[in-house]
């Protein structure tokens, strides 16, 4: 009996690790490939996509930094992503609080309308977005991108944050009300901290979107002062020729800040939260 149990748990253990490592290899494959490819020549890349560089082409990296003026674009991207995340999480956590913890007529309708936004293929909104931004005089500004990115992510954020806020046991809040906590205090001292991991998750997604977005950035900006890294990456793609090696070097450079940002957000904020565990 005991023995069979250990064999069973042993196999399960093995299966678990096979799954984890299979997914790990799938996740790491592109990044490893990208790093190797960024050190090859275009001819090598075009003729055999998988292979080791005959000679390390570090020049790709200096090209990437130079030609696409990456430092400036990185700064812009960080600014845009940070502000978009800030506005988005502030606005949606406030709204989600009402949608999750307050009762009033029409609440569910409001929630459904906001969240139905996840279905929208933003690309079909290009013409109205362009009109909106140019008519408000925001064309070619970082503000335009901040507003668009913060807004486009509203449905996802509301979805996530509301779900987290709803899962907070009612007793906690009731206890606070008995203690004489008002509306604002309930929000800031109970609901907000307890749904922190949900908000961080939403912030992560808003960040990923803002960092990777290209179509709107291309549409709504026209000069280096207000462009983001994704446009820098595309600088290696002209009408007929794509410098893949240089582009991949630029991609590798742009991945670094987003990974650092992720590790900071998650390991510090969520990590700190779960280390102590949430007391029910």
């Amino acid at each position: 009996m005991e023995k069979r149990k250990t064999i069973l748990s042993g196999t399960l253990h093995l299966l678990k690790w096979i799954l984890l490592l299979f997914l790990l290899s799938l996740a790491l494959l592109p990044i490893v490939w990208l790093m190797i490819s960024s050190l090859r020549t275009n001819l090598e890349l075009q003729t055999s996509p998988f292979g080791w560089p005959r000679q390390f082409q570090w020049v790709n990296y200096s090209k990437a930094l130079h030609m696409a003026s990456l430092p400036r674009l990185l700064l812009n991207s960080v600014t845009v992503a940070a502000l978009a995340v800030l506005i988005n999480t502030l606005a949606t956590s406030m709204a989600s609080f009402i949608l999750a913890r307050e009762f009033f007529k029409g609440r569910d309708v409001l929630y459904t309308i906001f969240t139905a936004g996840v279905l929208i293929p933003v690309i079909s909104f290009m013409v109205p977005y362009f009109s909106l931004i140019t008519k408000s005089g925001l064309y070619n500004t970082l503000t335009a991108l901040v507003l668009v990115y913060a807004s486009v992510n509203i449905p996802v954020s509301i979805f996530l944050v509301t779900a987290f806020m709803k899962s907070i046991p009612k007793e906690l809040e009731e206890a606070a009300i008995i203690d004489g906590c008002g509306f604002f205090k309930r929000f800031s001292t109970i609901i907000l901290p307890l749904s922190r991991s949900g908000i961080v998750t939403a912030a992560t997604f808003c960040f990923i979107y803002s960092w990777n977005e290209f179509v709107m950035a291309m549409l709504l900006t026209s000069s280096i002062e207000s462009r983001t890294v994704q446009l820098g990456i595309k600088f290696f793609t002209s009408q007929f020729i794509t410098d893949y090696a240089g582009m991949y070097a630029a991609v590798v450079i742009t991945i670094i800040p987003s990974v650092v940002g992720y590790v900071l957000l998650h390991n510090k904020i969520i990590g700190g939260l779960t280390a102590g565990g949430v007391k029910g």
Partner: protein, 420 residues
């Protein structure tokens, strides 16, 4: 307390964003006219350095009067999207920009936002352009774009590989060509780089255009797609894909098709002059052995070349006379013989403006020789019939090659997408 601070912060943020909206640049206090040029000739485009120099020289010469600002537009697809989006929103993307003129983009000619060059061009300026290209750019008496860059789309023969199987000349007839292909196949070399992927099946679309024009004449695109010339061309392209190409041709993209040729895995390729300017092509061992040619005689039409308008210049229509004059002045400068020669020298691109320039690099020079030697020219399928027809062509080409539809069915499907 904490809650209040939070709300205040949120409000302040919103107000800040609102203020940002006010921070608009107030248009030109000075008399200098600023022209924005949404340029695709930037980044690693081979025309970029020359264009940048020309604009700088122009700005220096016209200081205090006219200033041209280049707004760099990388990624051509996204650029096209930007052009059509802004026109749909009722605005010009910039004072000066370029389009690829075909039946789809010809829709832009209905827009009054674009300058009609017929109203501002004099005979002398017009005479500097290649007349057929200029005529092709005029629709219903309106000239809303000026032809600038052109291209021929010939076949490329890697003579090193042909010599390996004992063929020293570019084949003269279709039978010759197939005989050569059989020899290549026997030697384990894929004869051609076909593809059905992307949205235009680019290199195979060029082959198909050659076949269709050879069989149906330079005006073949005016015929219904169910015409015998197209059916026969479809049969030929199917044969090319299934018998004389790499095994991955169905679904392959332009990158893969070019990659095979660059790797020396395929002997015959098809593409425009820009491909000759690639650094990776120049790095191949067979760079000096490439021969550029038209299609071997395959039908009643012989010694023709497939060509297209690659980039036409558009300008914003304006009631402001000074502005209009500035645009015309700059475009006259840009399309002058000297400027075009300068751009051609460094890029190897071909233009609709007549110059005496001939490239010194053999491969690039061959393009000019082949273009001048052609007795007739005809458009390719995409330039002649537009985006939707080309998309259907590319999608159904896969089905044709896999034998899921016949050549007749293929042509009937494409025909349905042609607007008449």
């Amino acid at each position: 307390m904490k809650g209040k601070r939070f709300v205040v912060m949120a409000l302040v943020l919103l107000i800040m964003v609102g203020l940002g909206a006010q921070g608009q640049k107030d248009p030109g206090v000075a008399k200098e006219v600023e022209l924005r040029w949404a340029s695709i000739w930037v980044g690693n485009d081979s025309k970029a350095p020359a264009v940048e120099e020309l604009v700088a020289a122009y700005n220096a010469k016209n200081e205090g009067r006219i200033k041209v600002v280049i707004e760099p537009q990388p990624d051509y697809n996204a650029y096209e999207q930007k052009v059509r989006t802004s026109l749909a929103a009722g605005q010009v993307p910039a004072d000066i920009f370029t389009i690829k003129l075909n039946p789809t983009t010809a829709t832009f000619y209905q827009s009054n936002l674009l300058m009609d060059f017929n109203k501002v061009m004099d005979g002398a300026w017009k005479a500097t352009f290649d007349a057929p290209s200029l005529a092709q750019s005029e629709i219903d008496g309106v000239l809303r774009s000026l032809p600038m860059e052109t291209a021929i789309l010939p076949l490329w023969f890697n003579m090193d590989l042909l010599k390996k199987v004992g063929v020293n000349e570019v084949p003269k007839t279709l039978d010759d060509m197939f005989a050569t292909f059989d020899k290549l196949k026997a030697a384990g070399i894929a004869p051609t780089s076909q593809m059905t992927g992307d949205t235009n099946a680019w290199t195979s679309m060029i082959w198909f255009s050659h076949f269709a024009v050879a069989l149906g004449g330079p005006n073949v695109w005016d015929k219904p797609f169910t015409d015998k010339a197209f059916v026969e061309a479809a049969k030929l392209i199917k044969r090319m894909i299934t018998e004389y190409s790499t095994s991955d041709a169905v679904g392959l993209g332009a990158g893969g098709s070019g990659g095979h040729f660059l790797a020396g895995r395929t002997a015959v390729f098809s593409n425009g002059p820009w491909y000759a300017g690639r650094a990776d092509l120049a790095a191949t061992p067979f760079y000096d052995s490439i021969r550029i040619a038209g299609l071997p005689d395959a039908g009643p039409t012989k010694d023709f070349m497939i060509s297209r308008l690659q980039a036409n210049i558009c300008a914003a229509a304006t009631k402001d006379k000074a502005r209009e004059e500035a645009i015309v002045d700059f475009l006259k400068f840009l399309t002058s013989k000297d400027s075009i020669t300068k751009i051609a020298e460094t890029s190897g691109a071909m233009f609709a403006i007549k110059t005496d320039f001939r490239p010194t690099v053999d491969l690039k020079r061959q393009f000019f020789i082949v273009a001048e030697g052609a007795k007739a020219t005809a458009s390719d399928l995409e330039a002649a019939l537009g985006a939707e027809v080309t998309l259907e062509f590319a999608q159904q080409l896969g089905a044709l090659a896999l034998g899921r539809i016949s050549a007749e069915e293929f042509c009937a499907l494409v025909d349905r997408k042609i607007e008449r």
